[in-house]
């Protein structure tokens, strides 16, 4: 969590504008979460995380140009303090392991209840504050 605010600063990265709108609304229903920026592809997502110093990025995988898997690696390089929660239409069985292997902290499937998504973001933010702890056990979702 940011040292300058009590909120968890979340960056949204998904090529579907409607999903970004829905996620912004869904996340900000929880007062502890604040969406600080959004992007429609991986490259803009990496730049946005750097610019906004987001605590957590909620990241889609399938996007034009740089996809989510590549973006995860870049974010881990350039903004290692930022937590990465993947929110993807691909099943966890198919891409969960690949996403966690390249550095994501959680893998959620699109369609998960809002409270599960909010809880994952809060958990990852807490872990990062508590010393950058890596998630244990199998991927959520």
């Amino acid at each position: 969590m940011s040292t300058t605010t009590d909120h968890v600063r979340v960056f949204l990265c998904d090529d579907v504008a409607e999903i970004r709108v829905l996620m912004r609304f869904t996340l900000e229903e929880d007062e502890r979460l604040r969406v600080v920026g959004e992007a429609a592809d991986g490259e803009a997502g990496v730049a946005g995380v750097l610019e906004t110093k987001a605590d957590v990025i909620l990241l889609d995988l399938s996007m034009p140009g740089m996809d989510g898997l590549e973006a995860i690696g870049r974010i881990r390089e350039v903004a290692p303090a930022t937590g990465i929660v993947v929110l993807s239409g691909f099943s966890v069985g198919r891409l969960g392991e690949a996403a966690l292997e390249v550095g994501a902290h959680r893998y959620l499937e699109k369609g998960e209840p809002a409270e599960v998504i909010r809880a994952a973001i809060l958990e990852v933010a807490r872990e990062r504050v508590d010393g950058g702890a890596e998630p244990e056990g199998p991927p959520a979702g």
Binding site: L61, D67, G89, S91
Partner: protein, 183 residues
Amino acid sequence: MRELETERLLLRRFRAADLPRFTAYRSDPEVARYQSWTPDFGPAEAERFLDEQDGADLGPPGVWLQLAATDRASGALAGDCAVSVVPGPPRTFELGVTMSRQAQGRGLAREATAAVVARLFAEHDAHRVTAVLDERNEAAARLLAGLGFREEARLVEADWCKGEWVTLRTFAMLEREAGLEAA
């Protein structure tokens, strides 16, 4: 046919990690424009595609084998090449190629197609390799002509695709014509 290397590409079987990029360009209306498939392609369709391609190989007529065309330097998926055995005449193959919008305009489709065609003649005993195009797909027509394919026919409004009649152009190359690639 499992793997081919070109100067800039590695053509190989699809893997799960290719699916995000594959889905992104398959659902791009610009990329889908002259293809037989529609851009309503999502993660579920992509996962089904990977299941269908698992273990697929050139053999059963009419079944498409799709190879991921990946950037040799970065490993990223640039597009794909599809090949199938044409039902009926022996030693006859059809091919297709798709590149993501980001990978277009760099000669990668030509590089991938040339490699597949060469492999079909060299190792699969091809007699004839064909490609069928929407006649509006001028870039693909130029690519095939540049590789030495002959334009064989123009089939006027021969296909019904995406709510309209489509005129097709067919191109082909015979084994004895292979190696006559235009400069």
